[in-house]
């Protein structure tokens, strides 16, 4: 009996010790793999598309070889990445396509995330058809004529309608609403991931089949499969405010970098470097292509680019 | 003469207080089991009717007996007769429904947990049918297990265990595991484990029924030897009549949860209480169980009481037959030099042929007597009951 009492008392006090002696803010806990073995570690978020991999590969290469950091990369979808960035599990996002809601919450309200400046690349989302098809049928590049070609874009998956292929569910997309509001005879088929979408596009291209897809620039795939944008009703400020009633094209977005607020403050050279990191669409595509098409490992691709563009990256070093 | 009657009639006062004293014990399984023993109507029902009425099964019904110090008390019955339940009730491995159990006069049913544990640790140890050994322990650690539970130190309990292992003839196997032993060896481990705690009573629950016949005989002899050497009180459960007769000082024969007859082997074989018991003991070689007491008659003359070979009163009939046959005359039954009577070939033959009962019923008071019992006779006759399984 006494033993049991002792045990209960021990247990309760242990619990009290563990929990009562202090608050643990899990939004401030770093990754357990960070800063291993004494090296200063930077954790970068890699999004699933290759352009983002190119940014990270070059940043990682320079951080490791020029500044002596260790870099960990984590693949997280865009929205959760904001959360991870705010918690400090990720130190930086190098390419963000615009998430006003998250920006408001984390940058303005909570101040756990700091802006890191422009990446230097402008992004644009749109609907694309392969150039070989656009050359044959020049009028397809106007959305008003899309219904005429719906028959040609049909697949088993889209049933009786034309197929508009969308990619990862994590991407910014208004396509379902667009199809509905523009009264198009199309069905949006979600490839579920960019990998699946690219694979499908390449298969179509190999057979010179027509297809209509959600796509974005800058993207290395354009080098392999030239595509032409379909003109949607022009974008105006605020026309995409109500996601249900959207009936206009996507905007052109200057891609942004974001840093964890603490990292921006205490991150030293690494933080300065990442803030200075700024390159062009061409630079990014060059690295992307090496990774995705030549199947170079990201660090090899980064090395190649770094070796040949010293004047560009010298300016980034603090 | 008087000894036989004593064992049958007294309730164990001869050797002092009984070790176990069981009175009116019931064990009923099923919903609301406790109401059955108290209800005269329910408790009178036969098993099938009881089950139909209440959904309950009475495994032990109103059983009373005493186990005396130093005796081997055998509970015998076919499977389902309630004997295994009965022996588990003694140390409350199964909680009895009603009745009284006392060990050395102490009420077992009133014991609290720690008293009960002390009883199990020090006073009664059990040997199981399928051995119940811990497969992950060596022979030595299995034997020492009871001591370990008592909190004895490692080296001391191993030393004790080693002694007991030697006593049951398992030297050299201390480091083996149960899986590496034969059935007989395993049961020796089980026996050693029970012996190691030096209990007042050893309880055996059909310990040898899972063994080959030859090994079973070895083990029975082992028990006989142990009993002879140590004089420990034993309660022995078996379904094997031969075993019961061989080992038992007294036998309680159970059927459907009741004790139908309680007595010495000779009483059971010589004067079955009812047709069920009679059917049961029919094939027993009577000459090896019955003693010459049953066969003897008073000496017809002083001359007859003075000659012929001498036999002890507890000699078996078969021994007497040999003596009588060799001598060609009747034999004297001598107890400490006093002549109790004589046995002749007629008397011996009538015992073997089981016609003594008629003769005794017709004539003189039987030597063995009708065993006195502290229980009412079994209600049914065996002819109506189903075949024993």
């Amino acid at each position: 009996m006494r033993r049991r009492t002792t045990m209960v008392v021990t247990g309760v006090s242990a619990l009290a010790l563990l929990t009562g002696c202090g608050a643990a803010d899990m939004t401030q806990q770093a990754s357990p793999f960070a800063n291993a073995r004494g090296a200063k570690t930077v954790t970068l978020s890699v999004q699933s598309w290759v352009g983002a991999q190119a940014n990270v590969a070059v940043a990682q290469y320079l951080l490791e070889h020029e500044l002596g950091y260790r870099v960990d990369t984590v693949q997280v979808d865009e929205v959760p990445a904001w959360d991870a960035l705010s918690q400090g599990r990720v130190d930086a996002i190098l390419e963000d396509w615009g998430h006003p809601e998250q920006e408001q919450r984390y940058v303005e309200d909570k101040k756990t995330i700091a802006r890191g400046g422009d990446l230097g690349v402008t992004g644009h989302i749109g609907w694309f058809v392969p150039t070989y098809f656009a050359k044959e049928h020049p009028d397809v590049t106007d959305w008003k004529n899309l219904d005429k070609y719906a028959e040609r874009f049909r697949t088993p998956e889209s049933g009786g309608k034309g197929q508009l292929m969308d990619g990862s569910p994590s991407y910014v997309t208004n396509d379902k609403a667009l199809v509905k509001n523009l009264k198009l005879d199309y069905r949006v088929v979600f490839a579920g991931s960019e990998a699946a979408q690219i694979t499908q596009i390449k298969q179509f291209a190999k057979e010179k089949k027509p297809f209509l897809t959600y796509w974005y620039t800058p993207q290395w795939l354009f080098e392999k499969v030239p595509m032409t944008e379909v003109k949607l009703p022009p974008y105006e400020e605020g026309c995409d405010a109500d996601p249900e009633k959207v009936a206009c094209a996507y905007p052109v977005t200057p891609l942004q970098k974001y840093l964890n607020a603490d990292f921006a403050k205490d991150g030293g050279k690494a933080a300065r470097f990442l803030e200075n990191f700024r390159w062009t669409t061409e630079d990014q595509n060059e690295v992307s292509l090496m990774i995705a098409e030549q199947k170079l490992r990201p660090e090899e691709a980064a090395k190649k680019w770094v070796d040949s563009h010293e004047s560009v990256w010298r300016a980034w070093l603090p | 003469m008087s000894t036989v009657n004593d064992t049958a009639t007294t309730t164990g006062t001869r050797d002092g207080a009984p070790v176990f004293s069981v009175d009116g014990l019931w064990k009923v399984f099923g919903p609301k089991a406790h109401r059955v023993p108290g209800d005269p109507e329910l408790s009178a029902l036969d098993p099938a009717a009881l089950r139909a009425r209440t959904g309950c099964t009475a495994a032990v019904r109103d059983v009373s007996f005493d186990v005396r110090k130093g005796e081997v008390f055998v509970v015998m019955g076919l499977s389902g007769s309630g004997k295994s339940t009965l022996v588990r009730c003694l140390t409350r491995l199964i909680e009895p429904t009603a009745g009284a159990i006392a060990i050395d006069g102490e009420d077992v049913r009133a014991m609290d947990r720690s008293r009960l544990r002390a009883l199990r640790r020090h006073r009664a140890a059990m040997v199981f049918q399928h051995f119940g050994l811990l497969p992950h322990r060596t022979v030595l650690d299995n034997v020492a297990y009871g001591l370990e539970i008592q909190g004895m130190g490692r080296s001391e309990r191993r030393e004790r265990a080693a002694e007991v292992v030697a006593k049951v003839g398992l030297e050299g196997m201390e480091q083996r595991r149960p899986a590496q032993l034969s059935g007989g060896q395993r049961q020796r481990v089980g026996l050693a484990r029970a012996l190691a705690v030096d209990p007042e009573v050893l309880l055996f629950d059909e310990p040898f029924s899972a063994l080959d016949p030859l090994i079973r005989r070895d083990m029975q002899e082992e028990v006989v030897r142990l009993h002879r050497e140590e004089g420990r009180t034993m309660v022995f459960i078996t379904h094997d009549l031969q075993e019961a007769l061989k080992l038992g000082d007294r036998i309680a024969l159970m059927r459907d949860g009741r004790v139908v007859q309680l007595g010495t082997p000779e009483e059971i074989v010589g004067s079955p209480a009812d047709d069920y018991v009679r059917a049961f003991v029919r094939d027993v070689p009577r000459e090896q169980v019955m003693t010459v007491r049953t066969a003897m008659r008073p000496a017809a003359s002083a001359e007859e009481a003075g000659r012929g070979p001498a036999v002890r009163p507890d000699a078996t009939v078969s021994e007497a037959i040999e003596a009588v046959a060799r001598a060609g005359t009747s034999a004297r039954v001598l107890d400490d030099g006093r002549c109790l009577g004589v046995v002749d070939s007629d008397g011996l033959l009538s015992v073997v042929a089981d016609i003594g009962a008629d003769r005794r019923a017709a004539g003189e008071e039987p030597a063995g007597g009708v065993p006195a019992r502290r229980r009412e006779p079994a209600p049914q006759t065996p002819t109506t009951s189903e075949e024993p399984v």
Binding site: T27, V46, S48, V74, T155, V189, T199 | -
Partner: protein, 649 residues
């Protein structure tokens, strides 16, 4: 019809097999006759009535916003979840740092020597080779990260599972309460677990570890309870008869007696945790899973394989070593066991120290073997030559198209066209025929819950994919299984293939499948078939091989042809195994069809992915709940009563 036969049923001899089935159907018909008109007049037929749905997205969305806003301030998070999360981070970090400190040579030596002591020399060599292969593939650091995460997750799962199992093993009431929960958790797709954890902990290692624990603890709990309950009654009685206290009984008898089950539980927990390690990369687990995930994002099957192979190697090694340790239980330990352990320890320490002084803690860069490129070339060749235009049979894309048009579409449209009550009725009838009224009730309630959640249509879409995939899996699986059961050589050839396919992370299948079948539901179905096939083949072959030899012999002695033997003896006698194969097939197929959301499978899987990707937890959680219900329903519908299975086995 059925109602007429039911009353006269009693007159028939009890051997008539149709009788219980007919009686059940009759009862169901009666219930339906009363309830259906009522329901239809009230809510109408067709798809699930809107009046009966509850829209959870609003409150769920609010809840998730609240959590994000209060995660760094509310006491519940500060004083409870924060510490949980912290403990996980600290533990994973400690293990990770330890692994790095020992260095690659040290880790390999430790693993090899432990394997040697518990499982023998051959497995020790295999283990060491596996670790070296991880390094050769250039995956040393990710492997260590995964290992650290796994170690913590498995330890936590074992502790939690063992405690739950202990409670269920010792108390009947807990067992009754816990068993259905554990049984159900075991059949749910891993994907369904991710969202709730992310909701509380956010993306990252703590969430990944906790999701893994939730996923991997149930088998441990089940097997612990099983072991405690299955202990030899007489041994326990013997222990009690010697006056053991409850604690002594537990520590000296019940737990040691359950060692086999405990080890099996550990084995299963490790396997579940490993399979989760990859899926958890979606929520930031890092390590090997993340490499697979990143490689897939760039359609790099070779790189995905390079990260997938270490996972398979880890899984095979851990499986074999724990399995061998279980088989060795009860054997006499070697006489000088302690000395050998000491040698092992010294040798390990020596290797680790040597590695340290040689400055070779990290895997040398020069020793990396690139397998990505050849693999990618092979995949490219495959897709280039098989995708379309193959003479006579047509390309895989054509098959996929036809499969979608002729099988998936009619199935989906048919299911969605069916009136909602008839779907419920069909579920009830199936579940009742195969199981008991309890299973039927659970199945119907689960199905109804899907409707109430407002995801009736996508769920039926997912269901149609599952049904199509299960049909293909069973046809292929039974055929292969029968072949494997009849030819030893074929089975020997098949075994390693099955092993690899079963331990391969589900993600790795997705990209080749897209390359072959295009985007859509067809590749999701194909991936599901590939994933579920090994289990079905294995169970079928095993079931057929375990058919009573005497029954087979007697059939042969009567001159049955081998076809007759198969049809009339083996298949009927192996019925329990075949039913189990169906059940397992359904469960595994569902798991992958859900992941098929990543390759255009759409429906519930897409909703979960969408929820995770967009942080839209309302959508994700509702879809996750629907998956849970669907899994529950499918399991109950295909689960024969435990009684019957036992009798057959």
């Amino acid at each position: 019809m059925a109602t007429l036969t039911a009353p006269t049923r009693k007159a028939f001899p009890p051997g008539l097999s149709a009788s219980p089935a007919v009686r059940k159907l009759a009862a169901l018909a009666l219930i339906a006759a009363v309830l259906v008109p009522l329901a239809v007049t009230r809510w109408g037929g067709g798809t699930w009535p809107a009046a009966l749905t509850v829209d959870l997205s609003e409150p769920l969305g609010r809840a998730s916003d609240w959590i994000i806003d209060n995660r760094d301030s509310h006491p519940l998070f500060l004083y409870f979840f924060g510490h949980v999360s912290n403990a996980v981070v600290v533990a994973v970090r400690a293990v990770y740092l330890a692994l790095l400190a020992v260095g690659w040579a040290g880790v390999t030596a430790v693993a090899g020597l432990v394997a040697w002591r518990v499982a023998g020399l051959r497995l020790a060599l295999g283990t060491a080779a596996a670790f070296l292969a991880c390094g050769l593939l250039g995956m040393w650091v990710p492997t260590m990260q995964t290992l650290a995460l796994m170690a913590v997750a498995v330890a936590a799962s074992v502790v939690v599972g063992a405690l739950l199992g202990l409670a269920a093993g010792l108390s009947d009431r807990t067992d009754r309460a816990l068993r259905p929960v554990l049984d159900t958790m075991q059949v749910l797709p891993a994907f369904a677990y991710l969202l709730p954890v992310v909701l509380v902990f956010g993306i990252g290692v703590p969430a990944a570890v906790l999701a893994t624990v939730v996923y991997a603890a149930p088998p441990m709990a089940r097997l612990t309870a099983l072991g405690l309950r299955g202990a030899d009654k007489e041994v326990l009685e013997a222990v009690e008869s010697l006056g053991a206290t409850a604690r002594q009984r537990l520590l000296t008898a019940r737990l040691p007696l359950a060692r086999k089950e405990l080890l099996l539980g550990l084995n299963q927990t490790i396997m579940m945790a490993l399979s989760m390690a990859v899926i958890a990369s979606v929520i930031g687990a890092g390590g090997l899973g993340d490499r697979v995930y990143q490689a897939l994002a760039s359609v790099d099957v070779g790189a995905a394989l390079a990260a997938g192979i270490p996972i398979v190697l880890l899984a095979v090694v851990l499986d074999r070593v724990t399995g061998a340790a279980g088989a060795r239980l009860g054997q006499e330990p070697a006489p000088n066991a302690r000395a050998l352990w000491a040698y092992a320890l010294v040798a390990t320490a020596a290797v680790a120290v040597a590695g340290r002084f040689a400055g070779r803690l990290e895997w040398p860069d020069g020793w990396v073997l690139g397998i990505a490129e050849p693999v990618n070339r092979a995949v490219d060749w495959m897709t280039a030559h098989l995708y379309s235009g193959v003479p006579v049979v047509g390309g895989t894309a054509d098959w996929a198209g036809r499969f979608t048009t002729w099988v998936l579409d009619p199935l989906r449209d048919g299911l969605q066209w069916l009136p909602w009550w008839s779907v419920l009725l069909a579920v009830a009838a199936l579940a009742w025929l195969i199981g008991t009224w309890r299973t039927a009730l659970t199945a119907v309630l689960a199905m109804a819950a899907i409707g109430v959640l407002g995801v009736w249509k996508p769920s039926l879409d997912t269901l149609s994919q599952v049904l199509a995939a299960v049909a293909v899996t069973l046809v292929a699986g039974f055929a292969t299984g029968i072949a494997a059961a009849r030819s030893d050589r074929f089975e020997r050839l098949l075994r390693p293939v099955l092993d690899v396919f079963q331990t391969m992370p589900q993600f790795v299948y997705l990209i080749p499948v897209v390359a072959l079948f295009g985007v859509g539901r067809a590749p999701a179905v194909a991936a599901a078939v590939v994933y579920a096939l090994p289990a079905v083949v294995r169970i079928t072959a095993q079931g057929l091989r375990q058919v009573d030899a005497a029954a087979l012999e007697s059939a042969r002695s009567l001159g049955a042809t081998s076809g007759q033997q198969l049809r009339q003896v083996q298949l009927p006698l192996a019925r329990p195994a075949l039913l189990l194969a169906v059940n397992q097939g359904v469960v595994l197929v569902l798991a992958v069809v859900i992941i098929g959301g990543l390759v255009g499978g759409g429906a519930l899987g897409y909703d979960v992915v969408f929820g995770l990707a967009q942080g839209d937890l309302a959508t994700g959680l509702v879809a996750g709940a629907a998956i849970v219900c669907l899994g529950l329903m499918l399991d109950r519908v295909t689960q024969p009563t435990g009684r019957r299975t036992k009798k057959g086995a």
